[in-house]
């Protein structure tokens, strides 16, 4: 017996609707508890302050330091939110309920990536202005390009980070393991992003940073698809 069996009371699973519902659920839970978001934003602001006060403006101009600061903070604050992605599923084994339902594995992964992406962007909404403020960066219309770079980088970080969070949730010392596994993966994200940001901040034409943006885009394309494909292997069957 094959083919779909029509039902009047149930609808078939929908990849997008399921992913979106899971993303909303994760974000709602984060909104209720707010613990990870607060930790990440407080960390980001503290880090900016520390970088600012250990910096000698006469030795290094702001333009040279700010991109590095921005993207280091991006990486570590992004990591802070990732563990809770699967922590909330495993606390009371709600994950089993999700896995046993008709929702596909791909939808589960995509939903969590979306939630982590929104989380990272929200943290950056605080961190970016903080960096601009503390380093007296000139703010102009070119900042939309920086927002675009942050968007691209956040997507890559969310995809890879969510996948490794799924892996780490199976281990002891998940919180220690996650940075160790993921940081090498963030290298082709953070270096291009920092270089492209430097191009924008120095007022150079964006064409100078094109190569870096292409690396970011390629990384996103390759890793978002690859992570969706390997995600089911992180689940015990």
């Amino acid at each position: 017996m094959s083919g779909s069996r029509l039902s009047t009371t149930h609808r078939a699973p929908s990849y997008l609707a399921d992913a979106w519902r899971i993303a909303r659920k994760d974000l709602l839970i984060e909104f209720r508890t707010r613990s990870a978001f607060l930790a990440a934003t407080v960390f980001a602001v503290l880090a900016v302050v520390i970088f600012r006060f250990t910096w000698d403006p006469t030795a290094i101009p702001a333009m040279d330091l700010a991109p590095g600061v921005l993207w280091v903070i991006f990486t570590f604050s992004g990591l802070l939110g990732l563990n809770r992605s699967f922590g909330l599923e495993l606390a009371e084994r709600a994950y089993d309920g999700l896995l046993a339902s008709q929702v596909s594995r791909e939808a589960i992964f995509t939903g969590k990536v979306i939630a982590n992406f929104v989380f990272v962007m929200c943290v950056q909404a605080v961190a970016l202005p903080a960096v601009a403020l503390f380093f007296d960066l000139p703010v102009g219309p070119s900042w939309w390009i920086i927002v675009g770079i942050v968007l691209l980088a956040s997507l890559g970080l969310s995809a890879v980070g969510t996948l490794f969070a799924a892996i780490a949730s199976n281990t002891r010392l998940a919180e220690l393991l996650l940075p160790m596994m993921t940081l090498p993966f963030f290298v082709p994200l953070v270096i291009p992003a920092a270089q492209a940001t430097a191009v924008v901040l120095r007022g150079q034409p964006i064409a100078d940073g094109m190569a870096w943006l292409k690396v970011l885009l390629a990384f996103d394309l390759v890793f978002v698809s690859a992570c969706i494909v390997v995600f089911p292997f992180t689940i015990e069957e």
Binding site: M1, S4, R5, T8, T9, H10, R11, A12, P13, D18, R21, K25, L28, I29, R32, T33, L88, A91, E92, R93, A94, D96, G97, L98, L99, A100, S101, Q102, V103, S104, E236, E237
Partner: protein, 254 residues
């Protein structure tokens, strides 16, 4: 000694064939066989009460029947479809364990509604209200789950598992932590499901609760069935069964 092939076909079962069949199921973790050759056939309306000591493999068996695990060897079929199955087959299953399987930060209604929508229930709100009423937790519908007592959380977990009207309900010690009212609500809900043609597998340590709904019972030890029995609605020799259990398993049964 070969493990008996447990068959549960209640009187008046439909002639359309068994609901759930498992043939020579084996599941190994590394070198250890948690389930070691289990075969069973359950017809619609059957309720199999599964007893056994800790470590017998009952939870692993339930996870295999629920499609959460793949067998190392052997095959399972639910309504003719292989398990682990496609989306529509997975929708037929409801799983209840002694873990709450809930999101503590969300409310009762949000948890159950989420489960309903994930299972594709078309009128999720109505279904949610209905099942919460059935389990008698509607008055706490908007409370966050983490503020509820263990017993109430268990009722919500049961509501979550039943909201989409599953055809196969797998229960792993569901009565743990339930007070009398909760236990009665659960028994009533399961009875209603059974009457509607669902198939149940109930793992429990409590004899009276297990036998209240069961049409068949089996004892599992070290990964296989060591005994099976029919549970007649007219009467059941409880002390006799307890003695048999103790003899087989060298432990007591409540």
């Amino acid at each position: 000694m070969q493990s008996p092939h447990v068959t549960a076909a209640p009187e008046g079962a439909s002639a359309s064939g068994p609901a759930l069949t498992a043939v020579a199921l084996v599941r190994a973790f590394g070198g250890r066989r948690a389930v070691n050759g289990v075969s069973l056939t359950l017809h619609t309306g059957a309720c199999l009460a599964l007893f056994g000591p800790n470590g017998a493999g009952k939870t692993t068996l339930l996870r295999l029947l629920g499609g959460l695990l793949k067998p190392t060897t052997g095959a399972t079929r639910l309504h003719g479809q292989p398990l682990p199955g496609d989306a529509e087959t997975r929708r037929l299953v409801g799983l209840i364990s002694h873990h709450a399987m809930l999101y503590p930060a969300l409310s009762v209604r949000e948890n159950v509604r989420f489960a309903a929508e994930c299972q594709g229930v078309i009128n999720a709100d109505d279904a949610t209200t209905r099942v919460l009423t059935q389990l008698r937790v509607l008055d706490r519908a908007d409370t966050a789950v983490r503020y509820l007592s263990r017993g109430l959380q268990q009722r919500v977990s049961i509501a979550r598992a039943l909201v989409h009207g599953p055809q196969l309900v797998l229960l792993d010690e569901p009565y743990t932590g339930l007070d009398e009212a909760g236990a009665q609500a659960l028994t009533d809900a399961l009875g209603a499901l059974k009457a509607n043609g669902a198939t149940l597998v109930l793992v429990t340590h409590n004899l009276s609760e297990g036998l209240a709904l069961a049409t068949h019972s089996a004892i599992m030890q070290r990964g296989t069935f060591v005994d099976e029995a029919l549970v007649s609605p007219s009467g059941f020799d409880v002390p006799g069964y307890q003695a048999k259990y103790r003899a087989l398993v060298h432990e007591g049964l409540a």
